[in-house]
Structure formats: C-alpha cells, structure tokens
C-alpha cells in the first residue's frame, strides 16, 4: 500500500529530526508536523497562536513582523530547551522564515534537533564547571577557618602567635621550614592575607623542576631579544607580585647560579629584567619555603651561606602532624565537615576506633595525607560517622604496644646506635637497596635516612 504524500513527510521529518509549524498572517497555527510536540513539550492544536506554541518569540514581536513582511530573511535562535521537571530534555534550534502560499504571506517555523550536538558540549562543560565549583568551595573553606592551622596544641598556638607578630612587618623575608605536606603553602597564604590589603597579589612559584634559565626569566622577566625566543618582553613574577607577596616554594632547589642574583635583589629590592639595562624597583614580601635542611645544604656548598642568613631572619618551623596529638582529630573533623559539605554527604565525626587509628598512624605525608585520607573516606563511606575501616592508611602500620613490650633490655644493656644500624640495615635489605622504600618502612624522610646511611658508612 502506498503512503499518502503527507505521511511520507512525517516519516522523513522524523528521520531527519526536524519538525515544522506553519502560521498564517495573523500568526495562527495552520499546519504542523506530528513530531513537533516532542521538542516543545506541550500539546498543540490548530488555531493556536504563535506565542503559545513558541513563547521563545515573545519579546521578538518586531523581528517576527519583519520576517513575515520579508524585511528580514530569517531569524535563528539556537540551543533551546524547555524545562521539564522529569525526564531527558531535548535541545532544538528554531528558525523562522517567510513563506508565501496562494499569495498570502505566512510564517514558517522550523525546529531542528540539537540534542546530540549539545550533549557533547554539555559533558565537557559539566566537568569543567564541577571542578571550578569544587575549587572555589575548597578555597573558601581555606580562608574561612584559616584551616590547616586549627588546633589547641602548643605548636599550633605558637604558629598563630608568630603570624600575628610578623604580619605587620611587611618588608621582612620569611623562611618556612617543615616536612612536605605540613602546610607551608597555606602558612604563606595566611601570612599574606594577614599582612596585605585585600586584592594584593599572591604569586607563587616552585623552584624545583624548572630549568635554570627558565626560572631566571620567570622570576626576573625579560626584554624583547634577550634570548632567541624572546620575541616580546615579559614581566617577571617579581613585578607581578608588586605590592603583594612572592612565595618561592622549595627554595633549596634554587640553582646556585641564581642564588647570588636573588640575594642582590633581597638586599636592594632592585633588579633588572634579562636583557634590560634599566633597573626596576618593586615592593614585594618574599616568603620562601623548604623541606630540606638548608643549613646542611650550606655545609655541602649547595646553598650560599649569605643567602641562607638573609632568608633566615624570620624562620618558622612547621611541625609534622604526628607531633600534634589531639589536634590530629580536630583537623580530621574539620576536613570531614568540609568534604561532607562539598560532596553533599551527611557524615559527621569519627568513631572511637577511627580516632585510635588516626592517632596511631605515622603521617609521613602530614596534613596533606590526612586530608586525602579523609576526602576518600567521606566519598566512599556509607556510615553517618567515619569508622576505622573507612580510613585507608598507606605505609607503615603503627608499632603496637604489645610489640614494644616484647622488647626487653637485657641486664647488660644494649647499644642504641647499633640497634639503629641493625634496623636500618634490615629495612635496606627488605627494600632491596631502594633507599626511599626503606625510608618509608622506617617512617623516616628520605633525607634523614640518607644522612644516617652516610653516618653508618653504608652510603658514600
């Protein structure tokens, strides 16, 4: 059996994901394809006014009129969707064209499907914005509670005292020392926030892993033609941070060749861009951080002594997490609140066994490690309170009391250095000579173990 011509159209239009509606001169619906309602999500009937069928044209009466009268050839609105409280929404593009039938001017509205095209864009955008939203939540809670440094322990209190004291002395250079993950970056921000006006720039750079020449041009900037690829001139970070703070992380990695240039800047607050003859002056507070023992680097002639003393005028030591006692729990609770809020979970607090587990852990990754452990736990837990099994701790298990008690010191006494050497050697054996793995087994930092190995003559 043959299909009527009109039915053919319906099939073609459905197949091509396009719908149409034809309105007469008075903008009353005359004809439309059956698939129209799929897009506009409302029932339509013949004789419906244009504005009911396409409320998106309300406000554009002038444009519609110029299209009907052929003053305008077409009008397109892209990526439209109608709010549906349930179900998948589909997107469409609306094109309106003039049309003449039997000598009458009419309006032809074409609806073409844009769902697939938009779906891809949506997926990308959704991810991007989710990340940005999350970042700003994190940032906010950083500012809000000055978190990371909440705590009642003497060490944390003294950090607060310290920040209060040095904040007003804007010209002073500050050196932050501490294991990685102890929050040196956060401390730098807090000092910055406490001492600068709102909106003052906080610029940071990590000196590790950037090639020497690049680091120099990053910090000091360059003039056009200073080197082969310097096609235009560029401000350095010192200039970008003018009026604010420049935070140099891992200052211990600052190449020896750059150290004297940087020292000269610290002394005079003046510098030159690469390839420039003009001296520039900036008003910048320098905060430097390191997880290296700089004093030792000085002894090893890797770090200039004069620069060390210049940086070390004001020095803050950030304690490792394992020395913070009950503050570990306070911090953990703070992170729980924070992540529960970000991930829309109703988790609050820690069970007794979870508390025990947190206190017994070594936390070689410090606050950063704690934060990651809590984040993961909040995401995956099904409980309303975090329990010990929710907390996935990596690395060394804490030494249990019973194991410690089993060690008996003989009447004749022992040699602690020998015992230490024995433990180090067995860790090295277990780690098959891999120093960083052995360090993890012993709960030591890599530098500390290297130092002890040298002392014991194992490492040259």
């Amino acid at each position: 059996m043959e299909l009527a011509v009109k039915d053919y159209f319906e099939v073609i239009l459905r197949e091509k994901k396009t719908a149409f509606a034809l309105f007469d001169q008075d903008l009353i619906l005359q004809e439309y394809s059956l698939n129209l309602k799929q897009y506009i999500a409302i029932q339509v009937k013949k004789n419906n006014p244009l504005w009911d069928v396409f409320p998106e044209l309300i406000g554009s009466e002038d444009v519609v009129k110029s299209v009907v009268t052929r003053k305008k050839r077409r009008f397109i609105i892209t990526k439209l969707t109608r709010f549906k409280s349930s179900g998948q929404s589909c997107y469409y593009h609306l094109t309106i064209l003039p049309y003449t039938q039997n000598g009458y001017a009419k309006l032809l509205c074409i609806v073409s499907d844009g769902t697939q095209e938009v779906a891809l864009e949506h997926e990308i955008q959704q991810k991007k914005y989710e990340i940005m939203l999350l970042q700003s939540t994190l940032q906010r809670s950083g500012i809000e509670a000055q978190s990371g440094f909440i705590g009642r322990s003497a060490q944390i209190q003294s950090i607060h005292e310290f920040v209060k004291k040095i904040a007003p002395v804007r010209s002073s250079t500050v050196l932050l020392q501490g294991e990685s993950g102890t929050g040196k970056n956060l401390a730098a921000r807090i000092i910055h926030n406490a001492s600068m006006q709102q909106g003052a720039p906080f610029v940071e750079i990590n000196c590790a892993g950037i090639p020497d020449t690049l680091l120099e041009s990053e910090i000091f900037g360059y003039e056009k033609g200073a080197f082969t690829h310097a096609l235009s001139s560029k401000k350095g970070l010192l200039e970008t941070a003018d009026g604010g703070t420049l935070f140099l992380d891992e200052i211990g990695e600052l190449p020896f060749s750059l150290q004297s240039k940087f020292l000269a800047f610290l002394e005079s607050k003046r510098f030159r861009r690469l390839g420039d003859t003009q001296e520039r002056q900036v008003d910048v507070r320098i905060i430097a951080a390191t997880n290296k023992d700089l004093m030792k680097a000085v002894q090893n002639k890797e770090f200039r002594e004069d620069l060390f003393f210049r940086l070390n005028v004001i020095n803050l030591e950030l304690p490792p997490l394992r020395e913070l006692d009950d503050d570990i729990i306070l911090l953990a609770e703070n992170f729980i609140n924070h992540f529960a809020y970000s991930f829309h979970k109703t988790v609050s607090g820690l069970s007794d066994s979870a508390i025990k587990k947190l206190k017994a852990h070594r936390w070689s990754g410090n606050v950063r490690e704690l934060r990651n452990v809590i984040e993961r736990a909040v995401i995956f837990t099904e409980n309303s309170m975090l329990d010990a099994p929710d907390l996935i701790l990596i690395g060394a298990a804490a030494i249990s009391d019973s194991w410690l008690e089993s060690i008996q010191i003989p009447q004749s006494g022992i040699s602690l250095p020998e015992l230490e050497q024995y433990l180090i050697n067995s860790a090295m054996n277990k780690a098959e000579g891999n120093v960083s793995r052995a360090a993890r087994l012993l709960g030591l930092s890599l530098d500390t173990l290297r130092y002890r190995l040298k002392k014991g003559g194992t490492l040259s």
Binding site: W51, P55, E56, I58, G59, S60, E61, D62, V63, F75, I76, I77, T78, K79, L80, T81, R82, F83, S85, S89, Y91, G114, V118, E121, H122, Q125, Q126, Y129, E130, M132, L133, S136, R140, E144, Y341, H344
Partner: protein, 169 residues
C-alpha cells in the same frame, strides 16, 4: 475569569555558572530543589503565570541562560526584547558578584530601559561562611540595582524576587 488580561513578559536570568539560576527557576516554577549540579547549555525556557490583581496577570517566559563566556551576537539574540532581567550571584563566591558588572552593561545596551534586579542567592550559606555583608552591599551598590537575598534551597524570597521584578514593569 474571562476578562482577565494576560501580559506576556520575557525575563532573562544572568549570572556565572553555579550561582543557582536554574535552581531559582526550578523553585519558582516547580517548587523543588536539587542538590546536584547540572550545568545549563544555551537556554532553558520555563513559564509561569503570576496574578497581578483580579483583572490582570503576567505570563512570565523565563529564560535561564547558560554561563556567559562571550558577549557576542548569539547572546544578543538571546537577550533581544527582554522585558526584564534577574542578575544572580552566589553570596559565598564574591567573584560571581564582580562578574555581574559586564553582564549588566551588556543587558542594558541591548534592552534599553528594561528593569533589572540582583538576586544574592545561597543566602542559606551566609551563617556558615563568614561572608562579609559590607563588601557585598558595597559591590551591589556599585552595580546600581536593587538586590534581594534569596535561597533556592530554603525557598527564601524566591517568589518575592520575581514579583518585585514584575512590579517594576
């Protein structure tokens, strides 16, 4: 009822991503709230009737616009003929208030004289975060529009916001 006059008005919601434009519309039109974030692409159209008095009502055509990244012809076409706009920002993200200045200007240029209102959304977060009221009010002042504190989550002044805009037509 037969002689109730219906006035159709096109209202655009403008603001950075994630400030709660879609949530405000969802609350206003469907009386619901969603915690999960679904970003909007292009324009999402909603409609609601608001009674003005016994004789007249507004048919609000609400244009929930995606985050504006470019001030181009596409946006111009979206805003064409708008009768009013609600500029939405998130009280917990000050940068979203700053972002409203260029949006306000662009809207003003493209729909001369149409009234504008600012919605300081996520008001429910204000107690939690130490948001600085003074800074907000100072920046809103600079924007030179009326501002209503709203929460799509707790349904704080959502209806009021749309009605206030209607009163400005």
């Amino acid at each position: 009822m037969a002689d109730v006059v219906t006035l159709s008005k096109k209202i655009c919601l403008l603001g950075s991503f994630g400030v709660g434009k879609t949530s405000l519309v969802r609350r206003f039109v469907h009386q619901t709230f969603e915690e999960n974030y679904h970003s909007t692409i292009g324009v999402q159209l909603s409609q609601r009737l608001i009674a003005l008095d016994e004789k007249a009502q507004f048919n609000l055509i609400i244009w929930d616009l995606a985050h504006i990244e470019k001030y181009d012809n596409v946006l111009k076409r979206y805003l064409h003929g708008a009768h009013g706009a609600i500029l939405v920002f998130d009280v917990s993200r000050p940068e979203t208030l700053e972002a409203l200045t260029p949006m306000r200007c662009f809207f003003h240029e493209n729909s001369k004289g149409a009234p504008c209102l600012a919605a300081a959304n996520k008001y429910d977060l204000l107690e939690k975060d130490a948001v600085d009221f003074d800074t907000i009010s100072r920046n809103v002042e600079a924007l030179n529009v009326r501002c209503v504190y709203t929460s799509a989550k707790t349904d704080h002044q959502v209806d009021m916001t749309f009605r206030t805009l209607c009163s400005m037509f």
